[in-house]
C-alpha cells in the first residue's frame, strides 16, 4: 500500500482562520455596540459606561477563542485506497466514511480570509439523498490539491 492512511489533523492555519473569525465578530460587536451606546442615550436619555462594550466583546470573544481551539482539534481526515474519512464535532461527534467510488464531484471554495491564510473548504459530493456532501473546512490548500489529485479530479 503506497498511500498514507494515518489521520490528518487540520493545520495551524485552520486554527488561525477560526480565531481570526472570532476576532472579526468581536470587532463587529464592538463597532455596532459602540454606535448603539453613543446613539441610544442621546435618543432616550441615560448613559452606558465606556468600558461596557469592550467587556461585552471580550466576554463573547473569549469563549469563542477557546471554542475555536476545541472545535479545531476535533477535525481529522484521511484518504485511503477505498475511503475518504472525515471526523468532526464537539458535542455531537461524527465520523463520515465515503467510498471513493461513490464520489460524484469535489468542490473547493475559499473566502477572502481563507485565501489570506492559505486554506480552503473541500466538499465531496455523493448521490446520497440525505448527506449530499461531506466537507473538510479550512484544510491547507496543498492538502486539498492532493485530495483532488488522488481522487483523479485534477
Amino acid at each position: 500500500m503506497t498511500e498514507p492512511e494515518t489521520l490528518n489533523l487540520l493545520g495551524r492555519e485552520a486554527l488561525a482562520v477560526r480565531r481570526a473569525r472570532v476576532v472579526i465578530e468581536a470587532a463587529v460587536i464592538l463597532l455596532v455596540g459602540g454606535v448603539a451606546a453613543w446613539a441610544i442615550p442621546r435618543w432616550v436619555g441615560g448613559s452606558v459606561p465606556w468600558w461596557a462594550i469592550p467587556v461585552a466583546a471580550v466576554a463573547i470573544a473569549g469563549p469563542g477563542w477557546w471554542w475555536a481551539g476545541v472545535e479545531h482539534s476535533r477535525w481529522a481526515w484521511r484518504l485511503s485506497e477505498d475511503l475518504l474519512e472525515v471526523r468532526r464535532g464537539v458535542l455531537v461527534r461524527r465520523i463520515h466514511l465515503v467510498p471513493r467510488s461513490r464520489i460524484q464531484n469535489v468542490t473547493t471554495t475559499s473566502g477572502p480570509l481563507q485565501t489570506r491564510f492559505g486554506v480552503l473548504t473541500v466538499t465531496v459530493h455523493t448521490a446520497g439523498a440525505r448527506t449530499r456532501n461531506v466537507s473538510i473546512e479550512d484544510i491547507d490548500a496543498g492538502h486539498a490539491e492532493g485530495i483532488r489529485r488522488r481522487l483523479g479530479l485534477v
Binding site: D82, V92, I95, T126, A129, T131
Partner: protein, 465 residues
C-alpha cells in the same frame, strides 16, 4: 401530435388548457352556463376581454415553444418564451418513468408522463397522447431491455407478476391503515358528544379525519405490480390511473412496513425506494408500494425478484446495546422534568411533580424495553438489514452496492455510555426516515460502518448511483 424538425415533438394541444389552469375552467363554466351576475361597464368588459386574450395568447405561445425529443443518448426538453431553457436527461440516469391519467384524460386520451433521474430535475411532459406516452415509456427503457424487445418471441421473457389487490383485500388494506385508529377514536368521542351535548356537527368533523386513509385506499384500487424487461411496473387507480416503471437496478432500498393493525392480522406492505420522490414519497398514493398486502415474511419472495436473494433474515438481527434503554430513560426524564417541576411549583404540592416525573419515566421504561426488542441490524456482503419502529414497524433492506456514505454519530449522552448510531445514506428519497442502526456498542458501530463502506467501495457502479 405535431412532429417538428430533427425529431422534436410538441405536446398535446390540450396542454394549452392546462397552461391556462383555473382560468380555463372559469372561462369554460362562463361559456357553458352563460353567467351574467351583474351589469359590467363596457370599458371594464373590454379590458377583461383584452386581458383574457393576452393570457390565452401567452399560453398558446408557451405551448408552441415547448417540445421534446428522444435521441440515442438522452431525453431532451426545450421550453420558455422569454427565458429559454433546455434540459437533457441521459437515458442511463433515468430512475423511473411514470404516467398519470385523470378521469377526464381517459375520456380524451391524454396523459402526463414524468421522467425522473437521481439528483436532477424531473421532466414532466403533459399532456401527451396515450400512444405517445406508451412510446415514451418503451423507448425510455434501458439499452439492454430495448435490445431484448428486438429479440424473437421465443427469447422474450414473460412478465413476472408481483402482487395484485382484489376488492376484499383492498378493504382489509383500508381497515388496517394506521390513520384510521385516531380517526375512529375521535369519531367515537364525537358520537358521544353528539348524544350527550347535542353537538350534531362533531361526528362530521371527526369523519373528515378518515379522509386520507380512505383516499389512499381508493387510490390503490385495481393495484397490480409486475416485472418486465428488468423494470418493475406499478399500476393503480380506477378513476384516475397511475402507472410507474423503474429499472430494477435503480432500486435503492426495499422497505417492509408493518403498521400495528396490519401486523395484528399477520400482514405487511412492501415498497421500494428509488432516487425518484414521485415513486418513493409517502404522500403519493402508491408510494413505491409493490405489494400492498402480503402475509408477513412474503417480502423475501419480492426481494428476490427485485434486489436479489437476501441471505440474512430477521432471526439474524443483532440487538442494540442494552445501554440504549438507559439512554431512552435519561431522555424521557429530561423531557418530563420541566413539566413535572412546573406542576409541582404551580400546585404547591411536591408529590404532584414527583408523580408526573415517575409516570413519565415509567412510560419511557416500557417504551425503551419495547424499542430495544424491536431495534436490530444485520448485514452480509450483499445486504444490510435494519429494523425500527415500536408501533409502526419498518424493516429496510439495502443492497450494499447502493450505499453512498456511512456516518457514525455520537451525541453527548451516547459518548458517556460508550454507544453510537450508524447512519447509512443511499440515493433513495423517502420520507419514512433514514436507515439507522441505533445505539450500538462503539466498537460494533465502527466495525459495521467500516465493513459497509469498504464493501461498497469495492463495487463500482457505472454512474455511482
Amino acid at each position: 401530435m405535431a412532429t417538428l424538425q430533427d425529431g422534436w415533438h410538441r405536446l398535446h394541444p390540450l396542454t394549452i388548457l392546462k397552461e391556462l389552469g383555473s382560468l380555463a375552467w372559469a372561462l369554460l363554466a362562463a361559456l357553458v352556463l352563460d353567467l351574467d351576475f351583474a351589469p359590467v361597464p363596457e370599458q371594464v368588459a373590454s379590458t377583461e376581454a383584452v386581458l383574457a386574450l393576452a393570457v390565452f395568447g401567452y399560453a398558446v405561445v408557451r405551448y408552441l415553444f415547448t417540445a421534446y425529443r428522444l435521441t440515442d443518448q438522452a431525453l431532451e426538453l426545450r421550453k420558455g418564451v422569454l427565458v429559454k431553457s433546455f434540459q437533457s436527461m441521459p437515458r442511463d440516469r433515468i430512475q423511473s418513468v411514470g404516467a398519470t391519467t385523470s378521469l377526464v384524460g381517459r375520456f380524451v386520451g391524454i396523459t402526463t408522463v414524468e421522467v425522473s433521474a437521481a439528483d436532477a430535475e424531473d421532466i414532466r411532459l403533459g399532456f401527451v397522447s396515450e400512444p405517445a406516452a406508451a412510446s415514451l415509456r418503451s423507448v425510455l427503457a434501458p439499452e439492454r431491455a430495448r435490445s431484448e424487445e428486438g429479440t424473437t418471441e421465443d427469447e422474450a421473457v414473460p412478465p413476472e407478476q408481483l402482487a395484485t389487490l382484489d376488492i376484499g383485500r383492498l378493504l382489509v388494506f383500508g381497515l388496517t391503515e394506521t390513520g384510521l385508529i385516531p380517526a375512529a377514536m375521535v369519531f367515537a368521542i364525537s358520537i358521544f358528544l353528539a348524544f350527550a351535548l347535542g353537538v350534531v356537527a362533531a361526528p362530521l368533523g371527526a369523519a373528515s379525519l378518515a379522509a386520507w386513509p380512505v383516499m389512499k385506499t381508493v387510490g390503490l384500487a385495481g393495484f397490480r405490480s409486475w416485472i418486465e424487461n428488468d423494470r418493475v411496473h406499478i399500476e393503480a387507480g380506477v378513476l384516475g390511473r397511475r402507472q410507474t416503471e423503474s429499472p430494477l437496478e435503480r432500486i435503492q432500498t426495499l422497505q417492509v412496513r408493518r403498521p400495528p393493525l396490519r401486523r395484528l392480522f399477520g400482514l405487511e406492505t412492501v415498497a421500494i425506494v428509488t432516487g425518484d420522490i414521485a415513486v418513493s414519497s409517502e404522500h403519493a398514493v402508491t408510494a413505491g408500494t409493490v405489494a400492498p398486502l402480503e402475509p408477513i415474511g412474503d417480502w423475501r419472495r419480492l426481494a428476490e425478484a427485485l434486489i436479489g436473494r437476501v441471505a440474512i433474515g430477521e432471526p439474524q438481527l443483532e440487538r442494540s446495546s442494552p445501554l440504549m434503554i438507559r439512554r431512552t430513560l435519561l431522555r424521557g426524564a429530561a423531557v418530563t422534568l420541566l413539566p413535572a417541576a412546573a406542576a409541582g411549583v404551580l400546585t404547591q404540592l411536591w408529590w404532584v411533580g414527583l408523580l408526573i416525573l415517575a409516570t413519565g419515566v415509567a412510560i419511557m421504561w416500557v417504551y425503551a424495553r419495547a424499542r430495544w426488542r424491536v431495534l436490530g441490524w444485520a448485514h452480509d456482503e450483499r445486504h444490510l438489514m435494519v429494523r425500527r419502529g415500536v408501533l409502526a414497524r419498518r424493516l429496510s433492506v439495502v443492497p450494499v452496492q447502493k450505499v453512498q456514505d456511512v456516518t457514525v454519530r455520537q451525541t453527548f449522552f451516547q459518548r458517556r455510555l460508550g454507544i453510537a448510531t450508524v447512519e447509512v445514506d443511499t440515493a433513495g428519497v423517502t420520507l419514512a426516515g433514514s436507515i439507522k442502526a441505533i445505539d450500538l456498542e462503539l466498537a460494533s458501530a465502527h466495525r459495521l460502518a467500516l465493513n459497509l463502506s469498504e464493501t461498497a467501495a469495492r463495487i463500482a457502479l457505472p454512474d455511482g448511483v
